[in-house]
């Protein structure tokens, strides 16, 4: 079911074991990986493989991390890492690496050690979706205020209308009084 198996193999990862140095197209493992990537455009990995796979992709030289975002699904949080494939001589494009974090206790390894750009992106995903990125410092809120409670982009986050002008308790009409409600 995981269609990225050939990419993982070409990168020397995954269950298939390291790719041999003498791969068929003569370009070595990097060339084989580039071919497989050009065909797939997307790759799903286990959280435990994430850092290794992204590091290998960075090692190919043309990939830049440009975005991380997450989707809250009943099965878990699908976190997508968008890599800009600068394409070398060919056309540029986006290559997506996806990892699924557990719904009840979402945790993924941080990729900040690979790309510094991940800092603000991981903070955003943690702030809005509540996915914890492990192995980094400074994981704090970025768009919501520091004392905000909850993670607003989760599907189970309940939106509550906050009064624009908070009413002081002593001015609030007594229970059952006429005309108190708008």
């Amino acid at each position: 079911m995981r269609d990225g198996q050939d990419i993982l193999k070409a990168l020397g990862r995954g269950s298939a074991g390291p790719a041999g140095a003498g791969s068929a197209d003569g370009d070595g493992p990097a060339g084989a990986a580039r071919t497989a990537i050009a065909a797939a455009r997307e790759l799903a990995v286990r959280p435990s493989e994430l850092v290794e796979v992204l590091a290998s992709l960075k090692g190919l030289g043309d990939f830049v991390l440009i975005d991380i975002d997450a989707v809250d699904r009943p099965e878990g949080f699908d976190v997508a890492y968008r890599l800009l494939d600068r394409g070398g001589e060919g056309p540029a494009g986006i290559f997506t690496v996806k990892a699924r974090a557990d719904r009840s206790d979402p945790r993924l390894p941080s990729v900040m050690s690979i790309w510094k750009a991940a800092d603000v992106m991981e903070r955003e995903v943690w702030d809005l979706m509540g996915v914890v990125f492990e192995g980094r410092t400074g994981l704090k809120r970025i768009l919501c205020k520091d004392d905000f409670e909850g993670h607003p982009l989760r599907k189970d986050y309940i939106l509550v209308r906050t009064p624009r002008f908070p009413v002081r308790e002593e001015l609030r009409p007594a229970e059952g009084a006429e005309g108190g409600q708008r």
């Binding site: 830049v64 991390l65 440009i66 975005d67 975002d69 989707v71 809250d72 997508a80 968008r82 800009l84 600068r86 394409g87 056309p91 540029a92 494009g93 986006i94 997506t96 790309w115 510094k116 750009a117 800092d119 603000v120 992106m121 955003e124 809005l128 809120r141 970025i142 768009l143 919501c144 205020k145 607003p152 982009l153 939106l159």
Partner: protein, 396 residues
């Protein structure tokens, strides 16, 4: 350049340090003097931060030793709002992300929806999109040029570029009825055909634009004070820019040739002939200069698209209750500030299950905490201005 009286008086960064070094050499006891570090909040209510950007600076005298980005003051929860609106209802919100380049936001969103629903776009609409989007890019770059020079106290230059921008906004208004928050490029094409006499209007506006840009160029680009304050200030190396995921003119000013219009063409960009300016310096001046060069390329693109404009319909009508099949897309365009990407997840209903915007400014400012230490406050202001941030898309 710094030998002249004006250059050295203004290039205070170098001279203050030099004077301090001289004084220390003359009197070794000065080395024992310790100054206390202090915190300066630059923004969020400060004109040089281009909105509600807030930098917490740690300072040692005039020099920055630490910088922390504080953002979120304009967070409106747009991504959450999208989940409770239909696809068409959310379209006008997109122009409020990057409010200086509204129609480019429209385009990214429309492209994502078109891919999601497999909608064809009429050829005339594709040409009109390029015309309007490039006009918008010119307007956006003009704001960058003018706000950068006014951050460096050049009020005259600011007026020149802003007046030129007003001419472009008049064209956008003629097209869509709105100066800034356009909702013109929609899924399936554009809302309306170009107005009558549009070509003549564009021609007149461009004549005016060229005259004003020439004046602006003469006023600012060679100005000794401007050069002293921007040359070699806030240098971002190409490797550093890529490490921080920077895109757009800021990346191209650091010597990386990457423009989606050329490298991954969308719309009809592959049929048009234009150049992508790339500069090598990576300093504030190059980031300023590349915008000036890009405006000329955008003018070229508009003129080319005008000349090749085919006849035909401009919009594929969608049903009122449009429900794309379940699935997800990520579509990206080259916005005025870099790669803008929309991630839209559909569950088959009339509203998106999830909508996410990859905003270029949000990622671009990530480099500041590493770039700022060593700069003085006035250099930091110049560097920030040259990065051309828009808080609407940073905070979303």
């Amino acid at each position: 350049m710094r030998d002249s009286s004006i250059g050295s008086a203004d290039g205070a960064a170098g001279s203050v340090t030099a004077v301090a070094a001289e004084a220390r050499a003359a009197d070794p006891a000065l080395d024992a003097l310790q100054t206390e570090e202090y915190t300066l909040n630059l923004g969020p209510q400060h004109p040089s931060t281009h909105g509600v950007y807030h930098a917490k600076l740690r300072l040692n005298g005039e020099s920055i030793v630490g910088c922390e980005n504080v953002i979120g003051y304009l967070h409106r929860g747009m991504e959450k709002l999208a989940e409770s609106r239909t696809y068409a209802q959310f379209a006008p919100y997109t122009a409020r992300f990057d409010y200086l380049a509204g129609v480019l936001n429209n385009w990214g969103y429309a492209m994502a929806l078109e891919k999601l629903g497999g909608i064809a776009v009429p050829e005339r609409a594709e040409y009109i999109r390029v015309i309007v989007a490039e006009l918008q890019r010119i307007a956006s770059h003009l704001v960058m040029l003018s706000s950068m020079v006014i951050d460096l106290n050049a009020v005259t230059g600011w007026m020149y570029a802003f007046t030129a921008r007003e001419g472009i906004l008049d064209l956008l208004e003629a097209v869509s009825g709105s100066r800034m928050n356009l909702n013109y490029i929609v899924a399936g094409g554009v809302t309306e055909d170009l107005p009558e006499e549009f070509e003549a209007k564009v021609k007149r506006t461009f004549e005016d634009l060229h005259a004003r840009l020439d004046d602006f160029d003469r006023l600012v680009s060679g100005n000794e004070i401007f050069l002293g304050r921007t040359r070699g200030i806030g240098v971002i190396e190409s490797g550093q820019a890529l490490e921080y995921g920077m895109t757009g003119p800021n990346l191209r000013a650091s010597g990386v040739d990457l423009d989606l219009r050329k490298d991954a063409p969308y719309g009809i960009y592959d049929k048009l002939d234009f150049d992508v300016p790339v500069l090598r310096g990576g300093d504030s001046f190059d980031r300023y200069h590349i915008r000036l060069l890009e405006i000329h390329e955008s003018v070229r693109l508009v003129e080319e698209a005008m000349a090749g404009l085919p006849q035909g319909p401009v919009r594929t009508k969608l049903p009122k209750a449009w429900k794309p099949a379940a699935g997800e897309v990520f579509e990206q365009i080259e916005s005025a500030r870099g790669i803008q990407g929309y991630h839209i997840v559909s569950d088959g209903s009339a509203k998106p299950y999830r909508m996410h915007l990859r905003s270029p400014s949000f990622v671009n400012i990530g480099v500041l905490p590493e770039l700022a230490p060593g700069l003085t406050i006035q250099d930091f202001v110049a560097t920030l201005a040259s990065l051309d941030i828009v808080l609407g898309e940073i905070d979303r």
